[in-house]
Amino acid sequence: MIITLILVSVALLALGFLIRLAKGRALPAQVLENPTEHMRAVDLEAFRNLVDPEEEEFLRTNLPSSEFRRIQRERLRAAVEYVSCAAQNAAVLLRLADAGRRSPDPATAEAAEKLVQNALRLRLYALQAIPKLYLGMVLPGARISPVGIADRYEQMTRLVVLLGCLQYPTRGVSAAL
């Protein structure tokens, strides 16, 4: 009987999830009307510094072991926050670029396509990086350097600019995207 209850509960949860999906997507259309409200600041230089292996090595050699572990945990916690912000921004840009893919202008459609693929890669990296960063918090001695995220984010912002320029050539960057 317990097994039945578990199975039926699982099925009900799954059904509830499907109903929720049918009612609304992961990012509602309102997000696209004002995406800036949903984007979060990402300081790439600070992030690079946090996950820089040389910086980590410097701290490791110059600080007492217990102090290094404490600081490294704090650094990695901040890095997780940065990665989450970058992934959140990528999600918003993904929705915007996905709409741009249907543009009748081939150059805009191509730029939007590249942005979609880059944003997806960034979210994929984030999915891999966040557990690694948490693992690093548990084992502060382990060497973890998800610098690839910063590079990917930089590539993505470049594409955002390009897409914006193509979509709004007369209004400049401030109207872009």
Binding site: L12, A14, L15, L44, L120, R121, R158, G164, A175, L177
Partner: protein, 261 residues
Amino acid sequence: MSASVMLFYYLWIAPHVLEGIVLYAMVRRGLHRQFPMFFLYISFEIAQCFCLLAVSQYVSYFGQVYIQVYAVGLAVSTSIRFAVIYELFCHFFRRYPAISGAGKLLFRGASLALLLIALGLAVSAPGNTPAAPLNDATYVALRTTTFAADRAVSILQGGLLISLFLFSRYFVLSWRSPAFGIALGMGTFAIAEFATTALRLYVPISNKVFDRSAMGIYHLCVLIWILYVVRPEPEFRFELKSLPTYDLEIWNQELERLLQQ
């Protein structure tokens, strides 16, 4: 004819008549070329329904021949449903090459994990067979096997579709309306089947109740398919009113760098 019998025939025939609308809308919108397996599935379901109806009326009522035809039909229908799920995965990831590798990995990993769960449940579940009108060993064995296989398949199919939904949700991927509708209908059907078979195993309620609920759920799924296949895909437009101030500087730097190239 009693109300119960009328309800039974309505739930049996109406969804398959409505599936004709799905077929018509698919051909009209050219969706049969995008989703050939789903088109095949719907066509097969209609053919199977009328074949079973003919057997039940003219050959053996709901006896052994009916169950044999039903079991063969269910096996074919289940195989096509797997093909539909695979088609949905392919259709989905074709549009997103950056994550197609991760998608394939997800499909294989989820299939394996769900297969193990389904096998585990099949082994641990009691062989509670619905009351059979005939005390025939082959008949009972066939029904037991059919229900066990159906349960395992529901776990696999429902799980695969939920994995696909979760994956798409994380990656904020947009579903084209018909694909979303097909997956939603298939997922609802598989999950409801799973719940029904789990209850059927342990809860002492008449099989008629379970049969009617399963048929009702299938009816609902057909309505979902009609809704998504007939309805035109919404046109999506956006225009940004403002730019995030914190990104303005870096974006301008990137623009300058692009212009210098």
